[in-house]
């Protein structure tokens, strides 16, 4: 099974869990209380999020708390950046071609008018 940030955010419940914990660190039970699904299901999602490195669980006294790892979420942004760069390069090259086409087009039109 793939375990990375994209796997983490692929599921809507996991995205909601991320949103919850991003605002406030919570115990797994407190997270489960915010959802209509079983504690077992939430605990499974929390396990996946932990394996993906999005959250860490720390013991505080008797309770265990889920903490967000925001720098991990930045990977999503970085990932899109590479794809954007590829297309930016293509379109920048196209910009040059288009302006070349436009300058070539003008004299051609003038010739047509003379005829």
């Amino acid at each position: 099974m793939r375990r990375d940030v994209f796997q983490a955010i692929a599921d809507p419940t996991r995205r909601e869990i991320i949103n919850l914990i991003a605002r406030k660190s919570l115990t797994p039970n407190a997270v489960a209380d915010s959802f209509d699904v079983s504690r077992q299901a939430i605990s499974k999602h929390i396990k996946i999020l932990t394996e993906c490195g999005i959250i860490v669980i720390n013991q505080q006294g008797r309770e265990r708390f889920c903490y967000i790892q925001p720098e991990k979420l930045n990977e999503v942004q970085d990932w899109l950046t590479g794809f954007r760069k590829l297309w930016s390069k293509r379109f920048d090259a196209l910009d040059n071609i288009l302006s070349e086409m436009q300058t070539k087009q003008l004299p051609a039109k003038q010739k047509n008018k003379k005829r």
């Binding site: 793939r2 955010i9 999503v76 990932w79 590479g82 794809f83 590829l86 288009l98 086409m101 436009q102």
Partner: protein, 163 residues
Amino acid sequence: MTTKNRTKITAEPGRQELFITREFEAPRELVFKAFSDPAILVRFLGPDNLEMKIDHYNFKSGGSYRYTHTDKNGNEYAFRGCIHEVSAPEMAIQTFEFEGMPQKGHVSLDTSLFEALPNNRTRLTIHSVFRSVADRDGIVMSGMEDGLSQGFAKLDAILEKGI
């Protein structure tokens, strides 16, 4: 030209689609021509480090295309698709598939919309819909700057693991 238009990529997590948006300082007919003429397309679509060759490019409704990117080691990456619809100069709908995938059928459906803007400008929106979230994520990953081949190797690895 002093202002540079920005390329916008929209790919929401967990969805099977992505949007590529870009504006151009040229009239719509011209931008459309750049995408319909293989001699022009080959000049901007190929990534820097790869040589692009077009096998055929029959840009009309019911047509098809195939092109290859070759790296400096001679490795060839082929792409092909069918042209579903061409409505010059505002729309083109086509399929897109990387032939190097372990299994066939990882196809996306790409709709390119060319919008005429005031002052002879054009907005291009490419909307790609993939068969799965994993397919989409794989394509985005293949666009990493460190070279397409490396990206595809990663994509192969991901698909082999069976997401």
